[in-house]
Amino acid sequence: MLSGNVVEAQDLTKKFGDDIAVRSLNMQLPRGVIFGFVGPSGCGKTTTVRLLTGFYKPTSGILNVLGTPPADFSKSDREKIGYLTQQFVLYPNLTVWENLNFAASFYGVSLFRWGRLNKLLDFVELKGDKNKLARDLSGGMKRRLSLAATLVHKPELLFLDEPTAGIDPILRRKFWDYFKELQAEDHTLFITTQYVGEAAFCDLVGVMYKGRLLMIETPDGLRRKAYGGDVIGIRTNEDISSEHRHQLEGLPFVRGKVKIVSDQEVDVIVDDASIAVAVLLEWSQAQKLTVEMMEKKSPPFDDVFVRLIEMEIAND
């Protein structure tokens, strides 16, 4: 195993009867990154997390997490892992503080932990609610309490299964701020999400579809994969004719068809935006087109994801 990788999987497969939940998954996850695991509901994200945490035993394939197959995890291996489940599983009749204390106990955290627990409650902004019963908390507060319980034993590697599911956009953003802070404290985060837009906050993104890991890329790389290159938007004062579009498509660094946004605006896919912009400006001048706007576009990840899935369906 490479020393920098916290997760290494090779041909990892999990079957439930005849159903294949995870199919030949290959993955190498370096230490210290935020890894976003995106995909539609039921695509196998949670099953993969459960394989990585040792909850499920793989049907076949090789898997090492922190250098050890999860099925052989010792207690000390488990102490290095934090796991936030998809559902709120803590005790509704215990207070915030009592739940956190319970989590600290079953992870074997020293009894002198008062300061640690307070710091965590401060971190998730629940210090003022520590005497509230968990059943009286809002959905977002429950997720924050769960996150604090996951962090209580200072794990190296965090598996967070849809931590932002069902909470409002402002709180979602706050969660990603927490995750960035955790990354800065040398934690490695493995985060599953249905909100593909959250891929933008990750260092690496894995796209899962029907049990298959389609790719692992940086967010930019993902866009490039989806569109076949960088997208440059061009808006001119004059109409862009079909002749202009043919010329653009004939340029050597332009990939595929030019997308018409309006009579005076098109999107062009190029190999490398940083090089292509200068050439395109020259081409516009030569065509006597007055450029009002020319910039690299970042298509929303929702579109990126849809394109990737469409491509996958087309390949099938």
């Binding site: 459960r50 040792g54 909850f55 035993k57 489940t85 559902q87 803590l90 005790y91 992870y107």
Partner: protein
């Protein structure tokens, strides 16, 4: 009209939803319907429908002298009622009674006929070792029936003997009459031989007079009931019904609390999903189970303390035995009951199912633990069911400690402890499998 339809539609939504949910749980329905029925059926099988067999020891100095009466008595009852042996050592018989090797000791008076002839009732001493007021009543009845039977036997033999005696008396009287006639004819001649006959006649008539005197002076009470019985228990404790049932109620309450709390514990965690976290966390099934046992034991001990204080203060139930024996018996009862509760929790799929199993166990405990029906009255196969319930052991232990003032019977204590340990091991194995089941 539309509003009425909407009203009905809204009602029907629950109708279909509730029924669908109920029928989706066939195991629950089966338990609900068949569980109580099965318990009642087994209870019907367990109850012999007749009095309890009493292992009776007759103590008599000369066994041959009363063998006839004892045989007649035991034959007059069903053989299942009295299983008797004859001893000539009263102390040994009472020791056996104390050790529960016999149920009743009847000490037959040494010289009953002489006592009766002295115008006194011959008293049978009947001993038992019961604390249950119903069983004491039963033994009193059996004792009275026994003495009535002996009296009947005695009167019969007396009548038969007197009939025999009266026949010889009649011939004696006839002979005396003839002798008197001869004497009357011979006396004038002054014969010596006649004088001797007259002397014999005088003796016969004197004997007859003596017997008649004895018969006439016998008290009618002694004549009709020559024997009586004095029935007493080995212990001097006089228990009320509440007093007798108090230990059993304490046991049933503690068992039920323990089982109910424990049965909901793991099933709730399985349902809530926290088991997923336990599996990933560095916590073992043993640590989880031990933690649960300790916490519930702590809580149940407090509860047991409160119940005991209430029983002693409010119900005025004295604990005659040692307090440490009582505490130990309660501890082992709670430990074993928690084992049953956790087992239910581990095999149940829902809270409802767990509660249902707990209630069935309470019902079974009421019927089979000796609370409702004395264990000695149960038929053999059903007693296996009885001895699989912690309450059966608990009731025996607490009755002995609280009511008799003795310590818990060692075999009973050992039995419940063993069951508790086996249950812990089963629970541990099942929990380990549950925490690892996702590996399948």
């Amino acid at each position: 009209m539309t509003r009425i339809f909407k009203f009905l539609i809204r009602i029907s939504s629950f109708l279909s939803k509730e029924l669908t949910e109920i029928f989706r749980q066939p195991k629950l329905i089966l338990t609900l319907v068949l569980g109580p029925f099965l318990i009642m059926f087994l209870f019907g099988l367990a109850n012999p429908g007749q009095g309890r067999t009493l292992r009776t020891t007759f103590v008599v100095t000369d066994p041959n002298s009363f063998q006839k009466e004892i045989d007649a008595f035991t034959k007059s009852f069903s053989s299942s009622l009295v299983n008797y042996v004859i001893e000539n050592d009263g102390e040994l018989a009472l020791k056996k009674l104390a050790l529960n090797q016999t149920d009743m000791v009847i000490i037959i008076p040494d010289v009953p006929l002489e006592t009766i002839q002295n115008n006194q009732q011959a008293e049978f001493l009947v001993y038992h070792n019961e604390i249950d007021p119903f069983q004491i009543g039963y033994i009193n009845s059996v004792g009275r029936i026994y003495v009535d039977e002996i009296n009947r036997q005695f009167l019969q033999s007396m009548v038969e003997q007197e009939q025999g005696d009266s026949a010889s008396l009649q011939s004696n009287l006839e002979a005396a009459i003839i002798k008197t006639q001869t004497l009357r004819r011979a006396i004038p001649s002054g014969d010596v031989n006649t004088a001797t006959q007259a002397a014999d006649l005088e003796k016969d008539l004197t004997d007859l007079h003596g017997k008649l005197t004895t018969f006439r002076t016998l008290a009618s009470g002694v004549l009709v009931r020559p024997f009586s019985a004095k029935i007493s228990g080995l212990s001097d404790i006089q228990l009320t019904v509440i007093g007798f049932f108090a230990p059993a109620v304490i046991v049933l309450l503690l068992q039920h609390f323990s089982i109910t709390f424990a049965s909901l514990s793991i099933v709730r965690e399985t349902r809530s999903g926290i088991m997923e976290l336990f599996k990933v966390a560095p916590i073992t099934a043993f640590e989880t189970l031990a933690g649960k046992y300790i916490s519930y034991l702590f809580f149940e001990i407090i509860l047991a303390g409160i119940i005991t204080v209430l029983a002693v203060w409010l119900l005025k139930i004295p604990i005659l035995g040692q307090l440490q024996d009582y505490a130990l018996a309660v501890l082992v009862l709670l430990f074993t009951s928690l084992g049953v509760g956790f087992l239910i929790s581990l095999i149940s799929e829902t809270d409802t199912q767990a509660v249902q199993y707990s209630m069935l166990l309470l019902l079974a405990s009421i019927f089979f633990s000796g609370f409702f029906l004395d264990l000695r009255l149960m038929k053999e196969p059903i007693t296996f069911l009885a001895w699989s319930l912690p309450a059966t052991y608990g009731i025996r232990m607490l009755q002995d400690i609280i009511l008799r003032g003795s310590s818990a019977p060692p075999m009973i204590f050992l039995g419940i402890t063993l069951i508790g340990i086996v249950l812990f091991l089963i629970d541990w194995t099942l929990l380990r499998k549950k925490m690892e089941s996702q590996y399948a």
